[in-house]
């Protein structure tokens, strides 16, 4: 009986410890984000206050209004950056996914010589750090005259995303049973038709995840963008964030507001695809 009681007690203590641990972990994970959102809504005086003001006294959307009301009032041309980011990210995502579908299909459905070597080779191109790649690209782009243009950025981002979209899409095509496409072909489809009628619809959620993943990579990329863009012609939001820093001062509130603007699309999109994304990464790699 005594043993039972102590076992129950240990169990209780473990549950409580588990709850506390979980809560602390989640707190640490969420805190920076919450702090940014909060700071973007507070007046600068409160951010700078010493001793700190913990409970916000007044909240306002001034920083956001200032940001979107154009040059002069908000300080930086956020709308231009936003448009650049959107054009570059969307275009390069579409191209990268199209290329990734072709490549992923090849890896998932065909056997050919040098397949695993090629796969690793593709991955290795992705390991080149953005800053290291930016040096020769910068030089080449200046020569070709496509520095500080959308085309240049799109090209770079397509190459950045292709290895990953191939990896993900390969994983999703592998989950689609081969028999289905074969059955369709026996029923008179060409291989092309079988792909579009059978395999593509089944792998579509996965391909959508790959697309969103590629989009987020472009949306968030900084190392290449900071060197290959020069002006409002092609500067993207991550580079624009730096506009809030002057030599010795930083407009924290404005920066927080821009940060929130950048996070919201990323947050929404990641939330939509989270389940498929993990499935794709692991299935491609574990089941071999």
């Amino acid at each position: 009986m005594d043993e039972n009681a102590s076992a129950r007690l240990t169990r209780r203590a473990l549950t409580v410890a588990h709850r506390v641990g979980l809560f602390l972990a989640m707190f640490v994970i969420c805190l920076p984000g919450i702090w940014i959102v909060l700071s973007s809504l507070r007046p600068t005086v409160e951010i700078m206050a010493k001793p700190p003001v913990w409970i916000p006294q007044e909240l306002s959307f001034d920083a956001y209004i200032a940001m979107f009301s154009g040059i002069g009032k908000g300080g930086i041309p956020v709308l231009d950056y936003f448009r650049n980011s959107l054009i570059i990210s969307v275009t390069s995502t579409v191209i990268a996914v199209a290329i990734g579908m072709a490549g992923g299909y090849a890896f998932a459905r065909y056997r050919f010589r040098g397949k695993s070597g090629m796969f690793l080779g593709l991955m290795l191109t992705r390991t080149v750090p953005g800053i290291a790649l930016s040096l020769p690209l910068f030089f080449l782009y200046v020569r070709l005259g496509i520095i500080d243009t959308h085309i240049g950025m799109i090209l770079a981002y397509v190459a950045l995303n292709v290895p990953f979209t191939i990896w993900l899409i390969d994983g999703f095509f592998r989950q689609v049973p081969k028999d289905l496409a074969e059955a369709a072909q026996i029923d008179g489809c060409t291989r092309w038709q079988a792909f579009w009628q059978v395999e593509f619809p089944l792998a579509r959620p996965g391909i959508a995840s790959a697309a969103i993943f590629a989009f987020l990579t472009c949306w968030n990329e900084f190392a290449l963008a900071s060197q290959l863009t020069r002006s409002v012609n092609s500067k993207t939001l991550p580079v624009g964030l730096l506009d809030y820093t002057a030599e010795f001062t930083i407009d924290w509130r404005g920066m927080c507001a821009l940060a929130v603007v950048m996070i919201i699309p990323a947050l929404t999109l990641t939330y939509i695809v989270q389940k498929h994304l993990v499935g794709g990464l692991t299935s491609g790699a574990v089941k071999g």
Partner: protein, 298 residues
């Protein structure tokens, strides 16, 4: 028909190969060449002067470079190991939760949605010695009276950067390890428990071997992207104070664009590329080995 088929996969892969050749391989060949020249952006004619391995030799004797190199390896070692441990812990905490797992999983992915540059910026804000959240909290709680110079003192800055890096990437490990835990068959654990294993033994000999490939997938994905620390460091300290947090990548960027010494920077860049490739190949091999192991056991 038979003779025509083998070319299909290559046709399908052709666009990928063309793009990567044009945007990655060709520029890299160019940069390899220019690493053998004293090329400066401001003086284009220097592009055609060949100096052999002089850039590499000057790197080898450059103390700043080796400090940056060592610091990069140290940061990666600390960050990757801690991320793995914390990720494993987090995944197990979430897996044990009986209620609200969906919400927990979503919260867990929160840092993944932040671009590295935002991570850098928000931690710069939080670690600010004057108005940052960390110092404010420490002072309000009465732990210290002074403003701790987080980003101004060399060692503290390194710690702050490591924290930012770990915060941003732990969730990749956690989410993939969690996927492994959830996919794991329950019978072996029950069998181990029936056979009298302690919880530690069950974890060490049953759960861990199964989860390991997932951890290595996370490692491989992370190592493809180790250079994202560049964004964080660039924003938080920009290599300062006095070069105390200079990593390989920020050093490359500075040498190339601020000092305009492209040739030298390209030579340095090759070291950083080799470092990235070494990490990736290492973890890819580990992944293959771990996969073979579970293939054999399950």
């Amino acid at each position: 028909m038979k003779g025509f088929k083998p070319s299909a996969p290559f046709l399908l892969l052709l666009p990928a190969i063309i793009v990567l050749a044009a945007v990655v391989v060709l520029p890299l060949i160019l940069s390899l060449y220019s690493s053998f020249t004293p090329f400066r952006l401001t003086r284009p004619e220097t592009f055609f002067v060949f100096v052999g391995v002089r850039n590499y030799l000057s790197i080898l004797s450059n103390a700043d470079f080796w400090w940056a190199f060592g610091r990069t390896v140290l940061l990666l070692t600390i960050a990757l190991n801690l991320e793995m441990l914390l990720g494993l812990g987090l995944a197990m905490l979430v897996e044990k939760a009986t209620r609200g797992q969906r919400i927990l999983r979503t919260l867990m992915m929160f840092p993944m949605m932040f671009s590295p540059i935002l991570v850098g910026f928000q931690f710069k804000f939080m670690f600010n010695d004057n108005i940052g959240l960390v110092n404010n909290a420490l002072q309000s709680l009465g732990i210290t009276q002074d403003a701790i110079p987080w980003l101004i003192e060399g060692h503290l800055a390194f710690i702050a950067i490591s924290i930012a890096e770990i915060w941003s990437s732990t969730s990749i490990f956690a989410i993939l390890i969690l996927a492994g835990l959830l996919a794991m068959p329950k019978e072996p654990i029950e069998a181990a428990r029936v056979d009298g294993c302690t919880p530690w033994q069950t974890f060490r000999y049953v759960t861990w071997p199964f989860v390991m490939p997932f951890a290595y997938i996370a490692m491989t994905i992370r190592s493809l992207d180790v250079a994202r620390a560049y964004d964080i460091v660039k924003i938080m300290t920009d290599g300062g104070p006095a070069g105390r947090t200079e990593l390989l990548w920020t050093l490359v960027g500075r040498t190339a664009y601020s000092d305009a010494r492209m040739g030298l920077a390209n030579a340095m860049a090759y070291f950083s590329i080799l470092l990235s490739i070494a990490f990736t190949v290492y973890f890819y091999n580990k992944l293959a080995a771990a996969r073979a192991q579970i293939g054999a056991e399950w």
